[in-house]
Symmetry: C5
Subunit: 102 residues, 5 copies
């Protein structure tokens, strides 16, 4: 899995039937920056299915590959990237480097 920031959304009208009714988020994988003791963007870009109601700028936990299909409601869908958690805190390099606003 990896940590990602929600950057936005994607809409597709014309799609394979099994993709109907899924919310699609544009996400950016994040990395730990040891010097600034914070999470830094990687510049990479993926699209993830979300069933947890994640919003823009939320930090999410994302799983990829066949494992993504083990999340609820996705067992038969052609999805390879799913949000499996909304992150509350990240503690790394000896510091609380992220805390979700309540």
């Amino acid at each position: 899995m990896f940590i990602a920031r929600v950057n936005g959304t994607v809409v597709t009208t014309q799609k394979v039937i099994k993709m109907t009714g899924r919310k699609l988020l544009v996400i950016e994988p994040m990395r730990v920056d040891e010097k600034t003791k914070s999470l830094a963007p990687t510049g990479r870009c993926l699209v993830s299915v979300d069933t947890l109601g994640a919003g823009t700028d939320d930090l999410v936990l994302v799983t990829q590959g066949s494992s993504a299909r083990l999340s609820e409601g996705n067992s038969d869908a052609p999805v390879d990237c799913v949000v499996i958690g909304i992150i509350d805190t990240v503690n790394a390099v000896g510091a609380d480097i992220y805390k979700k606003d309540k």
Copy 2:
């Protein structure tokens, strides 16, 4: 999944039997450029099966790995990359950064 631009097509006459009759697109994964608030090419190159009729310069949603085989008609084919949607809009970094021409 990821966002890709359709760059062209590939034709193979000599191929494994299960690949007969499939349309193959040359695609380029795209990323969000935060500074210009637009989608930028990554320089990478993949080949994807398409059953939705995507054309050159269309922006498509692509799934990879074993999940690609869960798209219709591909369950028994040796394909690891399939177009599962034609993208209408991408909203990211607080702006509509892509809108498909009607």
Copy 3:
């Protein structure tokens, strides 16, 4: 899938039993170079099973991961990379950027 150029061959005498009798090609993934409107090498290097008789300098279509095992004769083999087509033409960025010599 991706486009690759056949660079050579690999021979292994000592191997797991299921790999007996397979032809192994050294391949290099290729990318579309938009400026020169041609295919450019990526510098990466993989080894792929081939059952189609591809030769050195041929351009081939390659599939990876569990999907590679859906090609004929590979369902039970520990292979993650298989040639599924020999490429005749690539049309991209508005031009015929590759045509196989007859």
Copy 4:
């Protein structure tokens, strides 16, 4: 598999049900630095499930993809990255480049 250093932890309150009760580690893949004969950080960042009790700065062996689900208790979970061992020693480039403190 790959060698990674444990950098910290991630907490998610809102998550898919199957992720309940799992310990999530922030890990950084490591590489062998031939010049200094030591393990060097790669700058990459992943999140891994841990059932072995690995602590910060431990070096761990990590498996990815569908294979991660073959570790105990994860067969039905949407996890693609699991710690399968805590590393005692790494011997590479002709030297003992890592030895766990007792």
Copy 5:
């Protein structure tokens, strides 16, 4: 699959039960250097299960992902990287660029 050089070994005492008794090699993927007509290191680092008795500096053929579990004795193990052959010769870019010492 890919070509890798055996760089060393990893020992883990504390591990998931299914990993008991497996030999773990530190390996480095190699690439073809067209200019020097030789194999060059990539700087990347992986850990692979070996059942063939590969030794340090041997060149090996490695398979990844779920396909790794199709090698003998690994069907139920959380392994994603296995040595499936010890390489005798690599012929590429028109030359014998590797020949194993007898």
